[in-house]
Amino acid sequence: MLEKNIIYDVLTAAVSKGADFAEIFLDDTVASNINYVDKQVESTQSGRDFGIGIRVIKDLNCVYVYTNSFLKDDMIDTALKAAAAMESVKKDITFDLRKGQVKNRNIIEIMPDTVTKQEKLEYLKRAYNAAITYDQCIKQASVTQMDKVQNILIANTEGLLKRDRRVYTRMFISAVAEHNGEMQTGFTGPGSHRGFEFIKSLDIEQLAKEAAETAKKMAYAGYCKAGTYPVVIDNGFGGVIFHEACGHSLEATSVAKGNSVFCGKSGQKIAADCVTAIDDGTLPNEWGSLNIDDEGTVTKKNVLIKDGILKSYLIDNLNGKRMGMPSTGSGRRQNYRFAPTSRMTNTYIDAGKMKREDIISATDFGLYAKQMGGGSVNPGTGEFNFAVVEGYMIRNGKIAEPVRGATLIGKGSEVLMNIDMVADNLEMAQGMCGSISGNIPTNVGQPAIRVSKIIVGGR
């Protein structure tokens, strides 16, 4: 990707005006996508993202520069720009670049670029047909398949030199149902840190059916009643509640500067006893998994909360320096255009012992959130919100009529304490998480849980 002597020269230029540390992140990514709508290829794109990001640190100050140029002189110019911004008393930094081995936990069988677009298209057509023929009320379907091969090289003035390759494959299926002139959508979007074998392993027809079924149910549903009451959130994408309500506030990005409600709470009780939460970047071939993070640190399994007690934050190198704590392998970025910061990988609430059915039957009145949509949080205040894509009322311990338009809002610190039941059906789901270092693939996950009370926005 880049010769060792060029890397050395660029790093040397970057620290030439008095920084403590410099790092290169070279990113060479090949991406492909196809979108199929209305029995036609609506769009199809292929391309190459290529660039080099250079980060220079002095004390706790950080300068980040990037360029798309692949010419040595341009890279050195870019590095000198960064160096100039840090101008101070020059100190001598000497380093040797030692090529580090990266243990590959994410085995890829079929590289996506070895599969023709025609072959990929066949899967899209199957999904489209299954969704559109599900029911007369399904008026439209849109299917997208994307894959990405990211080749990275990370080197720094501490002598680190590592390369890695990340392969992502994902399929999105959405269906639109219409009833009485109103339109509702349903959606499935499985993804993996795998190659095209992942698409081959999917039950495409079943996934399309699930999307269409959600759309149909919601098109026929009435509006959810607004109020504060118990909510049972099912497994899989339901884990977005932890991601938003708690995960972001445990990132050193917020914690290091004291801008999180969980600052200084290490070792303290921040959640109900039944809550254990984990961030694990080591799970083989999971969507949020990495062999090494975007600073070159080997990823880990981090227990964030154990039986309600806060055990660990998610930490990158620079914020770790601020906090006096080591990296947890959580430094991530979308691509060369972003400096890394602490982010989640695969984050989930661990399985409990109850059965989902028992949680429902223990709930006299409430909302059953079968499928969640996206959400957001303000880490400073802990205020979060997220949308219920497919919901049902619970009446007398039974799942009753479907409802739409529900949003759950609250404060992370409160909702964690209000989780009173955790089932055993742990499952993960894929999402794209957006924050200051860009959009990155992350898994959310949980078994079915009950929150004893939460504000439900509806009508």
Binding site: R48, Q140, M183, Q184, G373
Partner: protein
């Protein structure tokens, strides 16, 4: 660059492409973030990308690269060819020979390039210092940022089109965190301009700080239906989320609520929504669109009646009409449809007059979760919001932790007055004045 494109077209022709086009974007940007009066991050970027598209066997194929060198030519052409082969769409994009006339837009401001890094850093530090000095309950400024960027777009095709636009702008953003005991509250303020001297760090700091302080210790209002004034900021954010409904492509695909509504009343008479590519210094401003078609001013909704969808060449051909100059494209994307600068036309009441007219009700100052709480096909929304109650036409009590819900297109028919305080969202292209709405559903306490 010229040489590279010439070579690309030459090899493309040998490969069997008939018409071809290259779109090049370049961008240089600077961004500084201050935390506790120190430079927390400092970013300088220089980037470019090239998008190629070409007609192969009467079908269009797309590809792009960020590595602008001769060794990328083969991959660009082969990728585009592969994409053309599977492109079975009966309605194909076309390479355009050019419009008769292109209006000159004012989007490049030489004075901006003379603002020094020191001035930018001083501005950002001032902004943070002012915010922290407003009140002892202001704890920190998690984001205190100043940025500038300048970029260009150039389009060259084998039908002789050769167009370029360039633009620059500066922006600043501050978020403030306030704390009182165990309660936290945050507030943000932002501005962007084509004139550095128009930005005022003190006013922005005060705005963000006051927003954060106002919501400390407050809870929700009771669940119910309220008369409401939607503040300009909040309304602009929501219009941004719904803007894809105006795309003729979304309509043709049955993925817009506005399907079949052309020429009908879709909003109250108070509502006129404009798409204007000629506003100086805005991010949606440009003389040509993503297909090289000359952009134009249009009223999408006039006095409540839906006048036009937004079209590119392909959607216009399907609807047997003309392109409205709304083809959207970056070097990484296929042709789509996008608004230029879209906004509600101003009314004539001041914000205070809107409150007086409403008399009793609520003001929605801020909404969030637009990416998840908004259905951009149906217009259904359920969004967390903040605001304050209004009694006898005056501000009464602040509230937060509520959600507002409804349907955007129903809401358009419930707008009774439009204010004169037009403001654009952080993206610099979608704007709104404050709106008086006859009823809005609130989930709260």
């Amino acid at each position: 660059m010229k040489q590279l494109i010439a070579k690309l077209f030459e090899q493309g022709r040998l490969m069997g492409f008939t018409d071809m086009e290259v779109l090049t974007n370049t961008n240089e940007s600077f961004e500084v973030k201050i935390y506790e009066q120190q430079i927390d991050s400092y970013k300088v970027t220089d980037s470019r990308g090239m998008g190629f598209r070409g007609v192969y066997d009467n079908k269009m194929g797309y590809s792009y690269t960020e590595k602008l060198s001769e060794d990328s030519i083969d991959i660009l052409l082969e990728d585009a060819r592969q994409n053309a082969i599977i492109n079975d769409n009966p309605d194909q994009d076309v390479i355009f020979e050019g419009s008769k006339e292109y209006k000159k837009v004012e989007n490049w401001f030489p004075a901006l390039e003379k603002v020094t890094v020191e001035e930018k850093i001083r501005f950002t530090k001032d902004m943070e210092r002012f915010a922290l000095s407003v009140d002892s309950r202001i704890k920190s400024c998690p984001y205190c940022v100043f940025g500038s960027s300048s970029g260009s777009t150039a389009m060259v095709n084998s039908k002789g089109l050769d167009l370029s636009d360039k633009g620059n702008a500066v922006f600043c953003y501050i978020s403030v965190l306030a704390q009182d005991g165990q309660d936290y509250s945050s507030g943000v303020a932002f501005d962007f301009s084509s004139d550095f001297s128009e930005l005022n760090p003190e006013n922005l700091a005060k705005e963000a700080a006051e927003k954060a302080l106002s919501y400390l210790g407050v809870g929700p209002v009771p669940t119910g239906t309220y008369k409401a004034v939607m503040l300009n900021d909040a309304s602009a954010d929501i219009l941004g989320a719904v803007s894809s409904c105006f795309s003729a492509r979304a309509v043709q695909k049955g993925m817009s609520f506005l399907k079949g509504k052309l020429g009908t009343k879709v909003a109250s008479e108070a509502v006129t929504i404009v798409d204007d590519p000629f506003l100086p210094g805005m991010s949606g401003t440009g003389s040509f669109d993503g297909e090289g078609v000359a952009t134009k001013y249009k009223e999408v909704i006039k006095d409540g009646v839906l006048k036009t969808y937004l079209h590119n060449l392909k959607t216009a051909k399907i609807d047997k009409t003309e392109s409205t100059g709304n083809a959207g494209r970056s070097y990484k994307s296929n042709i789509g449809v996008t608004p230029t600068n879209m906004y509600f036309a101003k009314g004539n009441k001041t914000f205070d007059q809107l409150l007086e007219t409403m008399d009793e009700g609520i003001v929605i100052t801020e909404v969030s979760a637009l990416h998840s709480g908004f259905n951009d096909i149906s217009g259904d929304f359920s969004l967390p919001a903040k605001g304050y109650t209004v009694k006898n036409g005056k501000k009464d009590k602040y509230f937060r932790q509520i959600t507002i819900s409804g349907n955007y297109f129903k809401m358009l028919t419930d707008i009774t007055e439009v204010g004169d305080d037009l403001k654009f969202a952080t993206d610099g292209k979608i704007g709104s004045p404050s709106l008086l709405i006859s009823e809005i559903s609130v989930a709260g306490a």
